[in-house]
Symmetry: C2
Subunit: 193 residues, 2 copies
């Protein structure tokens, strides 16, 4: 089938993105990406000089996706508390992206890369910053000054832990219960003057 170059490149990235999430980075071979995408693996090197370059492209793709989502949440929710609760809402119903099945899209990648791909881990970890920066703005609007970033990191960390445990037990109910608990915590923080 005929395809323009950019389309082929995007197709490789899209397929790699999904497989890296479902199978992990090291467990996803060129052949498996090639098979699912319908692109011969020998073709990859026309677009990427090595596997780690595919990973970089996938990370940048996830960053754009996350930022777009945060922008929508920013628009759709009028108050900082509503925005923080929208972040927590992401956990409910099994996690919007299948967190209970495959773990967090960012967290599981960061954990894997931290073992034997430490240079690449830094790039993946920067996806956390995208969330933290946005959460920090919300806490700042609630009146927390220098503490805003600490609260942002804490909320992200708690969400990560909830994702890890629900993934370990394959238990979506835990996600919902803990999302409720985080909502209560946020409500108590919002009355801060």
């Amino acid at each position: 089938m005929y395809r323009k170059g950019q389309e082929t490149r995007d197709l490789i990235i899209d397929t790699a993105d999904r497989l890296f999430y479902e199978r992990g980075y090291d467990h996803t071979s060129f052949r498996s990406i090639a098979q699912e995408a319908g692109v011969p693996s020998g073709n990859f090197y026309h677009y990427f000089k090595a596997k780690e370059n595919i990973l970089e492209a996938v990370i940048e793709r996830r960053r754009a996706m996350i930022q777009a989502q945060l922008d929508i949440w920013q628009q759709e929710n009028p108050t900082p508390l509503a925005r923080l609760k929208r972040f927590v809402q992401m956990l409910r119903n099994g996690g919007e992206d299948g967190a209970f099945e495959y773990g967090c899209l960012v967290g599981s990648l960061t954990t894997e890369l931290g073992k034997e791909h430490k240079e690449q881990q830094q790039k993946a970890s920067s996806l956390f910053d995208t969330f933290i920066d946005w959460l920090e703005k919300q806490f700042a609007e609630l009146g927390y000054g220098d503490e805003s970033r600490d609260y942002a990191k804490r909320l992200l960390a708690y969400a990560q832990g909830i994702s890890v445990v629900s993934h370990a037990y394959r238990d979506p109910a835990f996600l919902n219960k803990e999302a409720d608990a985080l909502d209560h915590w946020l409500a108590s923080l919002a009355v801060h003057s």
Copy 2:
């Protein structure tokens, strides 16, 4: 060098335990274990019929280690609050087992196995139960009835999230700061009547 059979088996498990933690399960080859342990890889199949059997032995080894640690904490701390704080203390100073460098011993393994070794993941996840059962007892002693297990899982989850984020950023300071925050939370829970 001469070695009794049991010693060789233990040596393989010890070495695999460390390398699985530092490099991840899939990234640790028989050759690397053989090299570090000084045991030829062809020798492994006298003790384990496959790689996943080494993993099982490593998991059981970690379970025994965790249970022994919990027993000591139980003895050394007179009150349930002190015991819960001892659990949180584990996070401080980079994590007693190098959590900021390699992630949590249980959590990082569970996350990896959840992708493409789901049968083995269940066994690894049961290590969480060892912690949760113990934490649940402490909350029960504080007077929390049916909620004790929920609090136990929540505390474990938050500790996991803190570990994931500190590992992502290679930031031991975050572990200390968040340990303080968990201590405050526990202190507020302890006044429950």
